[in-house]
Subunit: 621 residues, 2 copies
């Protein structure tokens, strides 16, 4: 819940999933299914039943969820259900069936003394704790093991209490090796998912090898491993070395579903490398449609009919297009327009370099790999012969109108408010004016090099994502005495959805950044600010300066200047003016890029300013 | 998103919703539809598009959502969509069509200077700010107003910046009165929903009348109002007085869908009065299936086939049942078994009074109305001639086995851990032992009257709902110096889902309770405790005592004693032993009651211990 999820609970589910398996096979691939039981981590939002687990110990992950301890009959029932699900999986056409344990799910709960306090044959010694998983594997093997491969996913080291440490992880691999055709290995637990699906801010490519690379001590069977692998050379090196046989790459495949084919065909410069920003995870955690910083078509293949690599020639391809602004949205739009065969596409950027805001964002501590958003697009633009990139040329509305293009796309981005205007107040903060020495915007800090006139600085965050936390870390690194203040309930709450939150706050703390939440700044003066707590109590902070990370404002002057004078447009032969990205409204980078892509895909639709409807799910009886 | 929601976007939606309207009409009722546009509060998780609003001012409700300002063409387009949706609503069979503005949605965003900074004909003066809504009402009236009634919902006073104050609210009612057939009035805004769907902890029955009662100054049209109305006499008084014509009662109707009929037929003692615990809201906010403290069948009518008032005679109705424990689950189960005609149902309670944990929970500050859970069930039990209630009789497993019933249902509840065992640690806290004077459990405080030996007390909350916050408020009211400490990210986070959080924290603050979050207690000693922050830093608190609200433990001794000896059961003629409620696993009160109800409904199923499958939604192509 609340997603309507795919299940294998009865024959009707088999029928539905067999349609998917058929499609998978049509393309020469194998279909696998990760059959899992969440045990203690099952809030059962839909059934409203009490969860079951090895022992009646509350979930360390789901709030206020306490399971009942499984009786022997429960163990048998769940094992029978696993077998029944495996049989249904086989009927549906799946080739690989998992008895999935990783993320502290039920089999690992039996294996781990943190969850398992049983005193019967399923608890206590390692052999007893391993019994549930081994029996289940054996039953599934017996039921479908000649027709399906049997896989097991195990977290070899939980890096915390909620699982096992590496030696017991390897011991289980040895004990179950005769029952398993494919080992799927990772690290961390359900509560420490941030260490498995690690963000690039904190984890280097292949970082899980330190633990999961040791699996060869315990098995000669095929192994799949994961851990931020995006570089083909590094992947090949790992496979050649014999440590793993398969590179698991969920996030890199969202960024580029054609990753394997591009490697196979040697088109390495066309690979959209995953940035590790974890916006895909955030989209899921926040119940949004899938999204990706690198791949605007992710999740749009079916509902919008967008193939990631195929672009139909536009019916108005005889037109010339001017794209004003080469930030992420403008670059993406120009690439799509180029691929759709528009006669001439001019991408004009006021700055000397491409990338817009991503240029400075990727200079925030730990966000270097976000620069791949610019790098990949820069390379692709260079390959398109109908696209010309012009830098160092700032265009006014009049310039754009007179440029000579029939279609103008404005992609001029956004800037941070210079007066403290914020979502909660819709008004400036008294005394906040970034033309003063002690008041700073993120761009002033990152692009202009402005710094507070003294050693103390308050970073004020009304947004809750990477900008304020990144600036605080950056300024702390420059030996400023930093206090991060936010009216939000948590420091950088959106970073919790990208799995960066706890690690980020720990890092800020370790770097000496003070943090104060549910506190609004209501007045800024030289030497100090006045704030108000959630309870309406006032407080004062002495500081030499304040960085305002309150709200972004669209740079819409060029668009408004163009669209506001239809007669002038007609006089210059401009048929249409559109805008994309942050200059429409400030959004997540992934959605800004999507916006640019969307316009390119629909540049020849009846009204490109209004997106075409997408397929959607709806209730039916 | 993420729910697959009902929409009126195309003909297929019309077809789906017409099935509902037909059913509604079949029962002699009118079908209404609240057509709404969220404006700035539209994160557009599904479409990924930038939202639109009167001005480009960020949502004060949805994090980091900034809309673009609507152009004139957008205004026309949205109005056309409203008309098209109204036409579809008419085609589907709806009788009442809303142009819905309340909760700071788009029409109120135009009306409110907090959202509307336009300088064209749609912003500035009251007449200009009202224009969008008035025009839309007029267009909808013109399109379907002869076939459908036109309703408007307005928050007459936002009680904050995000709307209008009462005088402008009434002014709008006057201005639009000729276009509207039904006024639907409330208070608050989207960010202040807690003041509209007010919890009983903070709001008295009919509290909104202070504001919305004034609507008669502006209109003679029919009016529907809301605000925790559960008492038929109070409802009748309001309608008779002419203030409102219709009592809006969403929550009371979840608690009792037959509320109007029971009033009509004078069966007032059978009405399940809403407790105002807002668990229905919490279930929605937490993406759970609907639930209700009073009505276990809420949301189960279709998927489980449970009619709230109809109970089929059980096929094993010739059996005698013993229910051990008259807490909420045991009482509910006994009522259902009684209604299903079981020969003799004995409900045996160890204490002198019925209600189990609800007896002391309803004595926490502000939770008195939760006692309705016990009151309603006590009355119903008294009406069932086949149910006998016996109090003051504690039964051991042997007593229950030898009681003489063929079926035994154990409902012995749960207790709070006396040693600090918590979800995050699965282990006791060093030094925590509630047999000591300075260590207390909630039951010791509430039932036994134990108090800390001194004036200072720490309440330690690892659960995050009402118990710890309630105890802190209670002890502060007794002049203890209280510090509420929690390892969770927020104080009482689940109370945010019941819309109690901000008001609760403000009240605790006002009563002098200190609050410390993301802090774990790791050692308890006489005179003080040692804690650890989220960053691993240790701290010491001087205190005379600590109340441990860490985790509940099921009282399963009677069940285990019974179920563990099948031979003895057979010898005594006991055919089956079941358990329900907190003694299975501690859950939300609503789910505990559901659990008791469920067993009663399925007492004659093939295996009553395992719930029958419910209808579910599934993906289809």
């Amino acid at each position: 819940m609340p997603y309507v999820s795919a299940r294998l609970w009865d024959d009707e589910d088999v029928r539905c999933l067999s349609l998917m398996c058929d499609e998978v096979h049509e393309h020469g691939a194998l279909a696998g299914v990760e059959l899992h039981h969440g045990g203690a981590h099952s809030p059962n939002r839909e059934t409203r039943l009490a969860p079951i687990a090895p022992s009646a110990l509350a979930s360390d992950y789901e709030p206020a969820v306490v399971p009942r301890a499984m009786e022997l009959a429960d163990i048998r029932r769940i094992q029978e259900q696993w077998v029944a699900a495996a049989r249904r999986a086989r009927s549906a056409g799946f080739d690989i069936v998992y008895v999935y344990g990783a993320h502290s799910y039920l089999p690992m709960q039996f294996l781990s003394p943190f969850y398992n306090r049983r005193t019967d044959a399923y608890g206590g010694s390692f052999a007893n704790r391993a019994r549930f998983w081994l029996e289940t594997l054996e039953l599934v093997r017996g039921a479908v093991g000649h027709d399906c491969a049997i896989a097991a996913r195990i977290s070899l080291d939980a890096l915390g209490p909620a699982g096992v440490e590496i030696e017991e992880g390897l011991a289980f691999v040895r004990a179950a090796d005769h029952l398993v055709d494919l080992w799927d290995v990772n690290i961390g637990s359900i509560d420490e998912w941030s260490k498995d699906a690690g963000a690039s801010r904190f984890f280097r490519e292949g970082y899980q090898l330190e633990w999961t690379g040791r699996i060869r001590e315990a098995t000669a069977k095929p192994v799949v491993g994961v851990g931020r692998l995006t570089n083909p050379d590094r992947m090949a090196e790992i496979v050649s070395s014999g440590v793993w046989d398969v590179i698991g790459a969920a996030r890199p495949s969202i960024a580029d579903p054609f990753l394997p084919r591009k490697i196979e065909e040697g088109r390495l410069d066309e690979i959209r490398e995953c940035t590790g920003a974890n916006v895909c995870v955030a989209k899921a955690e926040d119940w949004r449609h899938l999204g990706c910083l690198q791949n605007a078509t992710a999740g749009e293949e079916y509902r919008r009919g967008w193939h990631p690599e195929r672009f139909a020639r536009a019916s108005n391809a005889d037109r010339d297009v001017l794209v004003v602004g080469a930030g992420p949205a403008g670059m993406e739009c120009a690439i799509v327009l180029g691929k759709r065969g528009l006669r001439r596409v001019h991408l004009v950027e006021a700055e000397a370099e491409l990338g817009g805001c991503v240029r400075w964002i990727s200079r925030l501590p730990g966000l270097g790999e976000w620069g791949r958003v610019v790098n990949w697009r820069t390379v692709q633009l260079g390959k398109l012969r109908n696209v010309e990139v012009i830098t160092g040329l700032e265009l006014s509305a009049a310039d754009a109108r007179e440029y000579g293009a029939e279609i103008v796309v404005v992609a001029t981005g956004a800037r941070w408010a210079a007066d403290g205007t914020s979502p909660a107040t819709h008004a400036p903060i008294a005394g906040a004016d970034a033309s003063l020495a002690h008041v700073l915007t993120p761009e002033q800090v990152m692009v202009e090099g402005k710094r507070p006139p003294g050693s103390r600085v308050v970073v004020y965050d009304c947004e809750g994502y990477f900008a304020a936390a990144g600036l605080a870390e950056l300024l702390a690194g420059e030996r400023f005495d930093v206090e991060l203040v936010t009216p939000l309930e948590q420091i950088s709450p959106f970073s919790d959805m990208t799995l960066e939150g706890p690690l980020l706050r720990q890092r800020l703390h370790d770097r000496g950044v003070s943090m104060r939440r549910e506190a609004a700044i209501i007045r800024v003066e030289p030497g100090g600010v006045t704030g108000e707590t959630e309870f309406g109590d006032l407080f004062e902070l002495e500081t030499d300066g304040i960085v305002l990370v309150t709200q972004r404002i669209s740079n819409d002057a060029v668009y408004v200047g163009l669209a506001g004078d239809e007669e002038a447009l007609r006089a210059e032969g401009v048929e249409a003016v559109y805008r994309v990205g942050d200059c429409v409204a400030p959004q997540l980078l992934a959605d800004v890029i999507f916006d640019g892509h969307r316009l390119g895909r629909e540049i020849d639709s009846p009204n490109p300013a209004i997106p075409l409807p997408a397929l959607r799910e709806r209730p039916t009886v």
